[in-house]
Amino acid sequence: MMRLKPLLRYKSSLVGVGILCFLIILSVYTVATLPFEEAARLWRAGELTWLDNPRNALPAWVNFFSPTKLPETLILNTQKPGPDVIKVSVRAGENIKISRVEMNFRYGFDDFPSEINLFFTSTYRTSPPQLTISWTKPDGTQIPLRRMTIAREDRFYISSDTVLSTELNQLMENRLGRKPAYTVPTSTILFGPFDETLLNPESVKVVKGDYRLSVEGLLFEPEADFDVKLVVYGKVYGWAGTDHLRRDIGIALLWGTPIALLFGVSAAVSIALIQMTIGAVSAWFRGGVDTVMQRITEVFLVLPFLPVLIMVSTLYKVNIWVILLIVVFLSSFGPGVKNYRALFLQLRESPYIEAARSYGAGDLRIVVIHLIPRVLPTMIPSVVLSAADFVFLEAALAILGIGDPITPTWGKVIQDAFYFGALFKGHYYWVLIPSALLAATSISFALIGFALDKIFNPRLKEV
């Protein structure tokens, strides 16, 4: 394609090509590494699948730009023992066993974790294990957290447990001899210093250092055992953060890329091809066929596009590819037909077509060899430009809540964000990242489209 070379002459289109290449690489990467079924399943799975993720976490890269390092999520699990996770079991009688778990970790972030949870699994026949859980701060202070009997699947939401919170606040009050003006969150007490700063939520600072969670388990059956998982939830996660359901937004955004590109490009290309075909048929046969085509075009003109699209897609609960089909169908008799028709009418009168007829070229050959290759270049810029529109159309439908309920798309992420008040609560990343991707896609198409327009349809001699 030697005619595409000039594309690289324009700086603006170079930027567009760059962005588009990046998006294409991202799409290929996504499709290759994360199968769609898997992504869709993950996206629709409930909170259980995502238990280890923080809720509404910012993207991890915000730490690059901020002097205070926000915490990342720390997970310690007895099923994955190591130097940090030590589990020792001692037989203390015929049926009694004592298991001691120590989880050591270093906490070096500048902000408190968003949540702290403990998850347990245990095996026993009739008597469940009894655990004593305590917390050790870097200075050696030990805080007993709870004594509890656990079920086979159990959990202890340390940071949101109201009983523990009251106990800890009481403990603190005793130590400081003063009562803070607010209920100090559990995570602040566990990760903060026991001093005056605690009295003011603005001034309290994280104590960095080595923390330890100890669990002492009393097991009443010889076969009984238990496992512990500690999750200290951070405030940043992945490259796109998480949503209100702890889901990794990155998954939706990754899969949103190939879907947006595919939707935009296939809508644009197929509409252009259909419109071109209709225009060509109209222009080639003229007469009655042409009149009929023109009337149909007028009917489509009178039907408002977006309302009808919304009507159809709400009434018939459709997925994204059916929406694509509807979009293509509704646009196939769009105003573009008129342009193509005019173009073909003009071309069919051109002397080289007449010449081809004179030496015996048939209709099919003239259309395929002589006409379409002449029309294609004029078509490309508008196709590229309209691809941008269709990317946004999909997003718009999703934002209205009309899109595909299964497929994760950029628009869906934005819609979730709005629905759950991201802008009111200050979760700007939730809207900004998908928006930026949308904008980048659209602008890259536009940059390329405008450059192509200048190359293929030079209406003005550029000086």
Partner: protein, 338 residues
């Protein structure tokens, strides 16, 4: 005439093209109905002899291009007979027409747009062979190169790979000629082949055309508005006005002693380099050619004719009269009938 089973043509006719009362009307469409007709060609009878060059001269809108197209079936006549090699092509279907067009070539006025700008010279010249499935690729290659050197695009290898926009107007017209002669036609319609070219190279292209004609024994229908080139590059001359041929005969004779008032007016109007020109006015007929959708009654030239006979020219259409010197004129001035 079609030889049964073979699907090949046989030369049975002395005249390569014979038109008999050909009319070409284009309907002017209105909403679901026809409002009227543009009479582009309105009753033309003429023959083109094998091996000659017939110049068809007329002003724009006189129907000369339409007439040219109708000789090779690019335009279907509304009525009348078009015999090409003795076969009435008005009765042929597309497939048979296609076969017949192999024997004809066309050169168009505008060398800038008569070649597909996306094709190389090679592809443009080769295409008629490809379409008519003539030869294998090696044979086609030889023929293309031969045609290119016939039109003096030397070396052919150099020009074959060029795109039309890389060539000058004259070179492009040579490409068009090469394409027209590639399938060894017998008849060529050259529609204003040099009008768009510069004066200094017009003659060169016309001489080339003449040379190719002699080499291949071609018959040429040379359509032009330029009497002067017709003088040097045609054997016979037909003058067309508003869809009719008003005068036809040997070129020299017609130009030396034009009979039809329109031919006279046309010749009188031609300016030639002569310093004396500026000293006097030309004798010209007033007005402009009629609207072909609504031509005047009788002889179509009568509203402008200096020798108009009232009550005759405006009522009746003059018939074509054969004069003694081999000419035919459609004018009442020479009608010595009853």
């Amino acid at each position: 005439m079609l030889v049964a089973g073979e699907g090949e043509w046989m030369n049975t006719s002395e005249n390569i093209v014979e038109l008999d009362d050909v009319r070409v009307y284009f309907p002017v469409r209105r909403f679901l109905s026809v409002a009227g007709y543009v009479r582009a060609v309105d009753g033309v009878s003429v023959v083109i002899n094998r091996g000659e060059t017939l110049a068809l001269v007329g002003e724009s809108g006189s129907g000369k291009t339409t007439l040219g197209k109708s000789t090779i079936g690019l335009v279907k006549p509304t009525s009348g007979k078009v015999l090409f090699d003795g076969v009435n092509i008005a009765e042929l279907d597309e497939k048979q027409l296609k076969k017949l067009r192999r024997k004809a070539g066309v050169i168009f006025q505008d060398p800038y747009s008569s070649i597909n700008p996306g094709f190389t010279v090679y592809r443009a010249v080769e295409e008629p062979l490809v379409i008519n499935r003539i030869g294998d690729s090696k044979e086609r290659r030889e023929r293309v190169f031969r045609a290119l050197s016939d039109v003096k695009l030397n070396p052919p290898e150099f020009f074959a790979s060029k795109y039309p926009h890389m060539l000058s107007g004259g070179q492009r017209q040579r490409v068009a000629i090469a394409r027209a002669i590639i399938s060894n036609p017998e008849f060529i319609v050259a529609d204003e082949p040099v009008t768009m070219l510069d004066a200094s190279i017009r003659v060169e292209i016309l001489l080339l055309l003449r040379e190719i004609q002699q080499k291949h024994g071609l018959t040429i229908l040379y359509i032009t508005h330029d009497m002067a080139t017709a003088k040097y590059f045609s054997d016979r001359l037909a003058v067309m006005y508003a869809g009719n041929i008003v005068e036809v005969g040997p070129t020299k004779l017609v130009l030396k002693d034009p009979k039809h008032p329109y031919t006279q007016a046309l010749i009188e109007a031609v300016p030639e380099p002569d310093p004396r020109n500026r000293l006097g006015l030309r004798k010209v007929v007033p007005g402009e050619p009629p609207n072909p959708a609504n031509p005047p009654s009788g002889c179509k030239f009568h509203p402008r004719c200096p020798q108009f006979i009232k009550g005759k020219c405006d009522l009746q259409q003059p018939n074509s009269l054969k004069l003694a010197d081999g000419r035919e004129v459609s004018c009442f001035l020479y009608d010595r009938g009853p």
